[in-house]
């Protein structure tokens, strides 16, 4: 493993410092306005997300927590434009997602959005390097290979660029996924249970890496998680309960406490 504990511990401290020095007034990068998502079910219409509104500013980190079926993943899908709300709208980097068609939203994602998933979602047919190159190529970047190599080096996988996903461990796969997510320097990074499929130790390391990369690239992070310690490192926490959003903790203290919890 190239990844060392020394690096890991250094990261969160830096991240909190960065946030502390950030300007007070930051522009809105992701705005939910009265989002509602209804689906039809055998028992009649079912409301999964109910009138959710919030505003996330550039560089902010927000955890979306809640029990299973509370609407976390649906909310994430709506925010990322993977799905459309029944009513309400989402403004991502100033663009109203509800006015775009499927391809338009895809193009916007290619330019502004990164993803990390619980089950990694690497393409099995492509090597680690090729997986990281993919979003760059989709966004039409010229230096895809060079940038992808740099990203893999940052996550400590420089030596494994030619490996296929099935030749990598779970933690390594998620690190490739992190490299892939950050390589385009997205405005917003959506992470859906990024440590959910990993054991505690590996999950902890991935969490560290996630926050470190996030701090380095000043990306806005929207994190869906069950993991309280992970959630507590975010500046804000939005709790989903039966489709409604409840703003939970205030920013800085929670973040600092999370660092203490993890390395105590």
């Amino acid at each position: 493993m190239v990844w060392s504990d020394a690096e890991a511990t250094a990261a969160p401290a830096m991240s909190t410092m960065d946030h502390a020095q950030a300007p007070k007034i930051r522009e809105s990068v992701l705005k939910a306005e009265n989002l509602t998502k209804q689906v039809s079910s055998p028992e009649g219409p079912l409301t999964i997300v109910h009138g959710v509104s919030f505003d996330i500013v550039a560089g902010e980190s927000v955890a979306i927590v809640g029990s299973s079926g509370a609407g976390k993943s649906t909310l994430l899908a709506l925010l990322a434009g993977l799905d459309l709300p029944t009513t309400g709208r989402v403004l991502l980097a100033g663009t109203d997602l509800t006015t775009l068609d499927e391809d338009g939203r895809a193009r916007l994602r290619a330019q502004r959005v990164g993803f990390v998933f619980q089950s990694f979602h690497l393409i099995p047919a492509l090597t680690a390097l090729e997986n990281v190159m993919l979003p760059l190529e989709l966004a039409g970047r010229d230096q895809a290979r060079r940038e992808a190599l740099e990203a893999l080096t940052r996550v400590g996988l420089k030596e494994r660029t030619g490996h296929y996903p099935r030749q990598l461990s779970g933690g390594e796969q998620q690190r490739v996924a992190l490299a892939r997510a950050f390589v385009t320097r997205p405005a917003v990074l959506f992470a859906d249970e990024p440590t959910g499929n990993l054991d505690t130790v590996t999950g902890g390391r991935i969490g560290e890496l996630l926050f470190e990369l996030n701090a380095q690239s000043e990306t806005t992070l929207v994190l869906v998680t069950h993991d309280r310690s992970l959630a507590s490192r975010c500046e804000r926490t939005i709790r989903m309960e039966a489709g409604r959003a409840i703003e939970e903790a205030s920013a800085q203290t929670g973040g600092v406490r999370a660092v203490g919890d993890a390395w105590a």
Partner: protein
């Protein structure tokens, strides 16, 4: 660019997953079957065209009984078309006291424009090709003429008022024809010498030919010009009507073989559809992810289409290569069936046709599922239960139906044939499917009586019932056709031998001069031969039917024109002959002798629509005969006795110049006698019927071989369906195998189960094939060919054996890796 790179990269990796391999294999086999037939047919048709040109010694031939205007030749020269002239007349050729009525051909420089003249220094020798022509004052008589008048090369011959030196013995010329009648003794001479002979007098029987040859396109244009400018009495022949039977036979055979190869294409399409389905199922996640990362629908679709195109082109290249080799092998195996030894090179069109077919099959069978794939929503990355929206039935099956219609119509080019073939094939497949389903369910019921491995195997078949039936039918179909062809071929040649009487004539003798007739028959009888009737044979042309010229007579059938206008062999006889049965009108009595009556074979009635009472006129050596049809005869041609389509009443044609023909049975040891006979009667042509029959039989065997080899591709196409089915059940099988092994089954038990499953599948396919082949062959031999059908145990053994071995082996190869995987990794991944 990045699209192509991405498509290529993932294509290379996808290769390992298997279904692309099946896709490529299926398409390759489809292309191989199609191009193999395409190459073969293109080469044979080109050979037939070339041969036809040689029969004319030109590409176009204008014939007339009047001298042909030089105007045509001038126009041809202006159009850069080669020309030559032939003047033909019939005259007696003398060598001292010995004489022979012969065809005199006076040829101009350039003759022959197509084909070669072969000459030698002595008669009947092996000829060598010459590009020169007889010099002035020189003639080249053929072997028969030299033998008839007892002359040698270097000697002299008198023709009309002139005497010529014999320069060479003419062995063959391209336009000598191949019918018995056209084998009259011939001499060719230089056109410049013709006036000296003084043979052309007012009223003499002369015919003229102008020959033209050149580029196909120029010839086509010139033909149009010529048709517009020629006089009514001038007859134009080109390669398409020089040998219409052969051309249309080749065309029909080609169409049949193309249809046969289409069966392989359709089976491959089934395999393609099965592979595409699994491909789509496995790629839903990837496409959803690509979309999440920002790929548009068009982009994901383009990658997949690009991959398919790469596979199509690869399949076309490999398939065309295999098709070409198969065709080379077939040409080699068919040697002798084709008259020419030198076949022109194959055209490259089949490669294009192969690619077009490939793309069409992909568009019809793989594109609809891929379109569905591109519609999978991005949200699937978060919720795996969400798939693409359901496709419209029309979009899912419409393209496949359209492609099948397109492919079949493309081959048959006729809506009636299209419906005949499509409905026939559909009924056939339905019937086989029904039988296959019955077999699977019977096998399922019997499984309680077998051991654990077999029970597991057969249970698998019953569980994946639909797939099993598809595999049994797809695989059984090819084997069935192969078996059926083998049975019919065996019955055909066995029957031939069985039905022929022992003392059937085995030699035909043609061109017996009238003066030698008695001596010839006596010669045969003295040497113990059993002779048949001796009939006169006179060459003539039918000129009018009920007062209308045959050229403009409205025959109902296409081939009627050819049968009516060709040179006819006429005969006359007192009795109808043993193997002739009068079916209409009546045969003449003594009182009718000398009356202008003819009796026609029933074929003339069937093809020309002639009836008893119709008036016909014939031109025999310049003399016109007007006759009435008195009777129609059904002729048993396979009696190998002399018989004629057109027989005159005695006393009408008796004075016309002609020769006699007969047949006889000789014991096979009398080759010495034949040699004696050939020396004593040099003008008589001898035809060995045994040899002809052997040739016919070997031609039949070769034709069957050609058809069988096309259907061999059907068997391979059936195998790809099997592989596609195995592929689609791979994940399931892997999981089951891991479960069984976890529960304590040994690796060999699981393997035995798989082997049992595929062996049963193969046995069922073979059983279906043997049943189908026996039924079809029974129908073919007893109803269509009217032969005796004999039950053959080997058919069943071959069907069951080949089915079991082929399927068991292929199935084992395809699933081996499933069992080899350690159970733990499978269960974890699953």
């Amino acid at each position: 660019m990045r699209l192509i790179a991405l498509a290529l990269r993932s294509l290379a990796r996808e290769w390992r997953s298997g279904e692309l391999g099946v896709l490529l294999l299926a398409l390759t086999i489809a292309v191989a079957a199609l191009t193999g037939v395409g190459f073969l047919v293109s080469r044979i048709s080109a050979a037939v065209d070339l041969q036809a040109s040689e029969v004319l010694a030109a590409d176009l031939r204008l014939g007339s009984t009047q001298a042909i205007s030089e105007h045509y030749a001038d126009e041809a020269t202006r159009r850069h078309i080669d020309t030559a002239r032939i003047t033909l007349l019939l005259s007696v050729v003398f060598n001292g006291e010995q004489s022979q009525l012969s065809d005199i051909e006076a040829v101009s420089a350039g003759y022959p424009l197509r084909g070669n003249i072969l000459v030698a220094d002595e008669p009947f020798a092996k000829g060598t090709v010459t590009r020169s022509l007889p010099r002035p004052g020189e003639v080249w008589p053929d072997s028969k003429l030299l033998a008839a008048v007892g002359a040698q090369v270097g000697g002299q011959l008198s023709i009309g008022a002139a005497t010529f030196k014999i320069g060479k013995a003419l062995i063959s010329r391209p336009d000598q024809g191949s019918t018995f009648a056209e084998l009259a003794p011939t001499v060719i001479m230089n056109e410049g010498d013709l006036p000296q002979t003084q043979l052309i007098q007012p009223g003499s029987r002369v015919s003229y030919r102008a020959l033209f040859a050149g580029d196909r396109s120029r010839i086509d244009l010139f033909k149009t010009w010529l048709l517009a400018h020629k006089t009514r009495s001038e007859r134009l022949r080109d390669i398409s009507d020089a040998s219409p039977q052969i051309s249309s036979a080749v065309e029909r055979a080609g169409r049949f073989l193309s249809l046969a190869s289409l069966v392989s294409v359709l089976l491959s399409a089934v395999a393609v559809a099965m592979s595409a389905r699994r491909y789509v199922a496995r790629h839903l996640d990837t496409v959803a992810l690509l979309k999440t990362l920002g790929a548009t629908r068009a982009f994901t679709l383009s990658i997949n289409i690009l991959q398919l195109l790469i596979i199509a082109v690869t399949a076309d290249i490999i398939g065309s290569g295999i098709g070409f080799l198969a065709q080379e092998w077939l040409i080699h195996a068919l040697k002798g069936l084709l008259a020419t030894t030198q076949l022109p090179p194959a055209s490259l069109t089949p490669i294009g046709i192969g690619l077009l077919t490939d793309v069409a099959v992909l568009a019809g069978f793989a594109l609809p599922p891929l379109l569905q794939l591109s519609r999978v929503p991005a949200i699937r990355v978060l919720r795996r239960d969400i798939g693409p929206p359901p496709a419209l039935i029309l979009l899912a099956f419409g393209p496949a139906v359209a492609v099948v219609v397109f492919l079949i119509y493309w081959v048959v080019l006729d809506w009636r044939l299209f419906w005949g073939f499509s409905l026939g094939l559909a009924a056939f497949v339905l019937l086989l499917t029904g039988a296959g389903a019955a077999l699977v369910s019977i096998a399922g019921r019997l499984r309680g009586r077998v051991g654990v491995a077999w029970r597991y195997g057969v249970a698998n078949l019953s569980r994946r019932r639909a797939e099993s039936v598809v595999q049994i039918v797809a695989f059984g179909m090819g084997i069935m056709v192969l078996l059926m062809l083998a049975i019919v071929r065996d019955d055909l040649s066995a029957d031939w031998r069985r039905t022929l009487p022992i003392n059937l004539p085995n030699y035909f003798f043609v061109n017996i001069p009238p003066g030698e007739r008695t001596a010839f028959v006596d010669f045969l009888k003295e040497r113990g031969a059993q002779t048949t009737r001796v009939l006169p044979m006179i060459r003539g042309r039918m000129t009018t039917i009920n007062g209308r010229p045959v050229e403009s007579y409205p025959f109902g059938r296409q081939d009627g024109d050819n049968l009516a206008t060709r040179e006819q062999n006429l005969s006359w006889a007192q009795e109808p002959g043993e193997n002739n049965r009068v079916i209409e009108g009546r045969w003449w009595t003594k009182a009718d002798f000398g009356k202008p009556l003819v009796s026609l074979a029933s074929e003339m009635q069937a093809q020309l629509g002639l009836q008893v009472g119709d008036h016909l006129s014939f031109d025999v050596a310049g003399e016109s005969f007007n006759v009435t049809v008195a009777s129609i005869r059904k002729v048993k041609w396979d009696s190998f006795e002399p018989n004629f389509f057109i027989v005159f009443a005695p006393g009408v044609l008796d004075d016309a110049a002609g020769t006699y023909l007969t047949s006889a049975y000789f014991k096979s040891t009398s080759s010495h006698t034949l040699a004696q006979l050939a020396r004593k009667f040099p003008s008589v042509s001898i035809f060995d019927i045994d040899e002809l029959l052997t040739q016919v039989r070997s031609m039949l065997d070769k034709a069957v071989l050609a058809v069988q080899s096309v259907f061999a591709f059907t068997v391979f196409a059936g195998l790809t369906v099997l592989l596609a089915a195995v592929q689609s059940s791979r994940d399931e099988r892997r999981y089951e195998s891991a479960m069984l092994r976890t529960l304590g089954a040994s690796r060999s038990t699981v393997l035995k189960g798989l082997l049992a499953e595929f062996t049963t599948l193969g046995l069922l396919s073979g059983l279906l094939a043997a049943m189908g082949a026996s039924v079809a062959a029974y129908y073919m031999t007893t109803r269509v060919l009217e032969l005796h059908y004999s039950f053959e145990a080997w058919v069943w053994a071959a069907g069951l054996g080949s089915g079991a071995i082929l399927v068991a082996f292929s199935g084992w190869v395809a699933t081996r890796s499933v069992v080899n995987q350690p159970p733990l990794s499978t269960l974890r991944a699953g």
